[in-house]
Amino acid sequence: MGKRLRIYLPFAANELKRKMAYKGAFYLFIVISLFKSFISYYLWMAVYGSSNQAVIGGLSQSEMIVYVFMVYVTSSVMIPISDAISDDVVKGTVAMNLIKPIDYRLSLISRAVGSMIYNFLAPSVFIWIGVEIYKVTVLGLAPVTVERIILYLISCIMSFLIYVLFDFCFGMIAFFTTYILGLMMVQEALLGFLTGQLIPISFFPQAVQTLFEFLPFSSMIYTPVMIYLGKYSGEMLAFVLARQAVWIVILYVLGSMIWKRVTRRLVVLGG
């Protein structure tokens, strides 16, 4: 364990340093990604204003505000790695990774950990604090309890693992086609729905909800945010956390299987 940490920690540390180097661009991208949150904030305000019900899709207007911005905070754990895989495959550098005595997937995940820590520290924590202050002072809701923060963070870490393990499997497509940009866009658009990022899953018809809850994607964003909102308790809470853990195992095994098959048929030219 200690040895492993010594091998893979530098990957995370390097990624963190690399991110720090391009601070200017990074802050602009924060503003851009916040655009989406603000658009949905204003849209939801108008929706609640036009509705004659106080609670829509199981959420009150105040809860929806918290939902929208906590989605932003939570999505900082969604660090894509499939673009790096595609890059490595196209350039052939994936061959170098095969001859080194390191696990390719673990090195990618370590790099993602670096990015995640940076994303989480740089904008997300501040936005989170902002949400809490706004929630208590303007919306007049009770502040979040320590217990719930801990549960939320545990759920977030599992979300991170589910996402990177899933994206690793997705990235394996790069071995079959060189242009996965189009597919990445499809993935992003689909995930917007399936994870609850665009709209809470509780807004879907019952049958669709059941399906979405069964898929691994709702565990990425929807589950931690709903935990944060205090929508789960007791057995239900244990169930959603266990479901996240199960998906980690499934996706890990699936990724290993695909990786084995794919590297067997890999042909790299030159080098």
């Binding site: 851009i32 989406k36 603000f38 204003y42 036009s50 940009l181 990445m184 658009a189 689909l190």
Partner: protein
């Protein structure tokens, strides 16, 4: 007249070359197209879900919002199709010195930049936009007298020019700061705000997207002219004026930029 003909011929030659490279990888082309198409469809699905809960949004019906959404895609798609290479100026052509080759040829520089590439992915946006507009026409919610018909095409053209101008303006910063991609991205993404009626936003945001980065004039404002009979055609006039002014500014900055351009390394 002769220069015009020459440029048309050059454009055909350059684009033919480009299309040959696309044809080498048809699968990539189809996937890009599908990607954009799919993203737009998801945007519509989102509207449907929201309107399951409410009868109208600030007085707008679902059908009207779908028209605004679709209408907005057309100028965006046109600009995307023809001038996508401007993005590369912002991200790398100036940085790595590749811009040299435009400086050396006896042709208009901006023409060379855009003639080098067509972005077929944009067809996805155009396709969705057209489908949604046709759908709205068949529902009879759009005004269809000849005046509105002509202004429809004028508006689309002016809207595309506004897009191109904003892109060119921010991309031109690259001549001074080498990479202006993040700024361009920031400006470009504000277009997302204009997909919905601007009444839903706070005053500051409304002002920003109407007059500073005028994407409201590409999407929501002209679209509402085609939906509501009491709306005045002046809005299309302002759209055209904005398009011309922004284009002149952007092109002047671009020209100035090409004069301060310094190549990179050897």
């Amino acid at each position: 007249m002769r220069t015009c003909k020459r440029y048309l011929r050059l454009y055909r030659v350059l684009i033919t070359q480009f299309i040959k490279t696309i044809m080498q990888s048809k699968v990539d082309f189809l996937m890009g197209l599908f990607g954009f198409f799919f993203t737009q469809i998801m945007g519509i699905a989102f509207l449907y879900l929201v309107f399951e809960q409410i009868p109208s949004l600030k007085g707008w019906t679902l059908d009207q919002l779908i028209f605004i959404y679709g209408f907005a895609q057309i100028p965006r798609g046109i600009d995307h199709l023809f001038t996508d290479n401007v993005w590369l100026v912002a991200w790398r052509l100036v940085l790595n010195g590749d811009f040299d080759r435009y400086m050396l040829r006896p042709m208009n520089i901006f023409f060379q930049v855009i003639a080098e590439k067509l972005q077929p992915d944009a067809l996805g946006e155009l396709l969705v936009g057209t489908i949604l507009v046709v759908r709205s026409l068949s529902k009879g919610i759009v005004i269809t007298d000849p005046l509105h018909g002509i202004l429809f095409f004028v508006s689309i053209f002016a809207g595309a020019l506004i897009y191109t101008s904003i892109k060119l303006f921010f991309a031109s910063f690259a001549f001074w700061i080498k990479v202006s991609g993040p700024f361009l991205q920031l400006a470009y993404e504000t277009a997302d705000f204009a997909k919905y009626p601007t009444e839903i936003y706070a005053k500051g945001i409304r002002f920003l997207i109407t007059w500073v980065i005028p994407f409201a004039f590409v999407a929501y404002l002209p679209a509402s002219f085609f939906l509501k009979s009491e709306a005045s055609g002046v809005v299309i006039g302002i759209e055209c004026a904005i398009a011309v002014v922004f284009w002149c500014i952007a092109y002047a900055v671009f020209n100035k930029g090409t004069h301060v351009y310094e190549s990179a390394g050897n």
